[in-house]
């Protein structure tokens, strides 16, 4: 039996890793996405190549990187390139199959805000800004969003659109000529949401153990649909948790 005493963060890591099954190239950030990708490489995606916006292709970090500039990402990597090449030859060229993104706010079409809360000129909270997110959202073949489900994050209307999701219309990405297919999954601490309907509007696709649809709706700022084939996500296996706790997160950063 799997160890039931897993944390929401561990569940998010496990789910993200499983969704990378069979994927070859993933654009990684630090923190949870980094652990998820390394877990996937040890389980469901042995040929997964980790790509970091700092210029690293095929990283094999020997430890948990402190930032995307960590030298452990460089030592032993397949290739290290300039940022011009990373963003041009890899991302814009279309070689990134999946990119993992997060944000302070997301709307029902998967559009993201990482710029400001409040007015741009006089922000209540100044957020980090785009970083690479804007072009990642446009050029990666598909996007997985990883965000904790909170009402202040899953909002009816963004304060600022930093990175395009489905833009409020199933066909708008194509009409605007955006190369990537946009968001396909939102992996939260309560449920997995997808956009598998003709409007490309976020819907509940999977519920985690012991979570109800009402709990998910309670943390979402718009009336949330549920997929016709709503399924239950299985809890982390002992093997998955073992790998996270002993290999990938030995400091236990995601155990609380």
């Amino acid at each position: 039996m799997p160890d039931q005493a897993y944390t929401p963060a561990e569940m998010m890591i496990v789910v993200a890793a499983r969704k990378l099954a069979g994927v070859r190239t993933v654009f990684v950030g630090v923190g949870m996405p980094n652990i998820a990708c390394n877990l996937a490489r040890r389980t469901v995606a042995p040929n997964l190549e980790l790509i970091y916006e700092s210029g690293v292709y095929g990283a094999q970090p020997a430890r948990l990187p402190l930032s995307i500039g960590d030298p452990t990402l460089v030592s032993g990597a397949t290739s290290v390139v300039s940022m011009a090449d990373l963003f041009g030859l890899y991302l814009q060229r279309g070689l990134v199959q999946v990119a993992l993104l997060g944000g302070a706010q997301i709307d029902r079409y998967g559009n993201l805000n990482t710029t400001v809360i409040g007015d741009y000129a006089h922000p209540r909270t100044r957020l980090p800004g785009s970083g690479g997110a804007c072009e990642i959202a446009i050029n990666a073949q598909q996007l997985f969003m990883i965000m904790r489900l909170k009402r202040r994050a899953f909002v009816e209307k963004l304060d600022f659109v930093t990175s395009p999701g489905h833009l409020g219309d199933a066909n708008r990405r194509a009409a605007f000529g955006l190369p990537g297919a946009g968001p396909s999954l939102v992996i939260t601490d309560k449920a997995v949401l997808d956009f598998a309907n003709s409007e490309r509007e976020m819907q509940v696709a999977e519920l985690y153990p012991q979570v109800t649809l009402a709990e998910v709706q309670a943390e979402t700022g718009w009336p949330l649909r549920a997929a016709a084939n709503l399924v239950a996500t299985s809890a982390p296996t002992a093997a998955e948790l073992e790998c996270i706790r002993h290999e990938l997160d030995p400091m236990g950063l995601y155990r609380n």
Binding site: S54, I68, P71, A84, S130, C134, S163
Partner: protein
């Protein structure tokens, strides 16, 4: 022959035979005094690594004012400089304490105009990279697949769209960026400024070629033959370099590939200190204003830190260039 940082306390400066002959070899004090005037636009670059804190601290000590600070990831270095009041404007693409959280001093300036207002001009990463590429190559603009469907062009009129003359539709463009001064930290250079860098080369080459004046800060000054012994690694030619500063450990607490690791305690500590205005001032007083130069800063650090930050050895696989004489 193999040059590398001497590991241990103090990271002593290497003897540099020809260095006394070079007019470019300057102390950090003199390089900043000569090439970083009040009001200039300045890029201290290196993407979350190779961050030249030594230069940033010297600029604070010399009380520069009204700078336009340019950097993709402002990091702690610009948070400290903005806390000290050197800047009137920031050009950037990501504001964060990498792997830790917010940059509190910059947020204080933006949200509350403390110590003074800070004008922002923001792009995405590829937008900033594209601006540097255009600046470095004297291209009039750089086209990139970004910004479509976002609010960024609304708040930054420099981001525009043009029609592809070959009929594929509109494409975003950004204008060239040519900082008055660039400061680049690297592993090694010769006395003329021919500079080699490995690991995350980021956008350092482009920034150097884009800038009006270039200061390179290196862990080691090496003989010209070392540079000529691997010409594919020379990213910045001395031709475009105005000053060479030999400042071992000059990027502490950030990383230099093969030389030292990030001092993560410093990143976590700044997160705590910078949330409080008085504590921030005290820190600047203790670690910048009261410290005459980088040598004194390093002597002030806990000696155990140096041992902890030393990486193991992993030499690059050799290659043969051949003699062809």
């Amino acid at each position: 022959m193999y040059w590398r940082a001497v590991k241990g306390i103090g990271w002593p400066r290497q003897k540099t035979g020809e260095s006394v002959l070079s007019m470019k070899l300057l102390s950090m004090h003199d390089a900043v005094a000569r090439f970083v005037p009040d009001g200039c636009s300045l890029a201290i670059e290196g993407f979350t690594a190779f961050i030249c804190f030594a230069a940033g601290h010297e600029i604070i000590r010399q009380r520069r004012r009204d700078l336009t600070l340019i950097r993709m990831t402002p990091d702690l270095i610009y948070d400290q400089m903005i806390a000290a009041g050197v800047a009137r404007k920031l050009v950037f693409s990501y504001l964060g304490n990498p792997g830790v959280g917010s940059l509190h001093a910059i947020r204080r300036a933006v949200e509350k105009s403390i110590p003074q207002p800070l004008e922002l001009e923001e792009y995405s990463h590829y937008g900033m990279v594209g601006r540097y590429i255009a600046g470095a190559n004297r291209m009039p603009f750089f086209p990139l697949r970004s910004y479509v469907g976002t609010d960024l062009p609304d708040v930054n009129p420099a981001i525009r769209f043009i029609e592809d003359p070959y009929g594929t539709g509109p494409i975003a463009v950004v204008p060239p960026l040519n900082p008055d001064v660039a400061i680049i930290h690297a592993q090694r250079a010769d006395a003329d400024g021919n500079t080699q860098l490995w690991g995350l080369t980021g956008m350092q080459k482009e920034v150097a070629f884009a800038a009006g004046k270039v200061i390179v800060v290196v862990e080691e000054i090496v003989p010209e033959e070392v540079i000529r012994g691997d010409p594919n690694r020379t990213l910045i030619p001395g031709l475009i370099v105005d000053a060479v500063v030999h400042e071992p450990l000059g990027a502490h607490p950030s990383y230099v590939q093969g030389y030292y690791d990030r001092d993560n305690e410093a990143y976590l500590e700044w997160d705590r200190i910078s949330q409080d205005l008085a504590a921030t001032e005290d820190w600047l007083q203790e670690w910048v204003y009261a410290v005459p130069d980088r040598t004194a800063y390093i002597e002030k650090l806990d000696p155990g830190v140096m041992v902890r930050l030393s990486p193991g050895e992993a030499l690059a696989t050799p290659v043969n260039y051949g003699r062809y004489a």
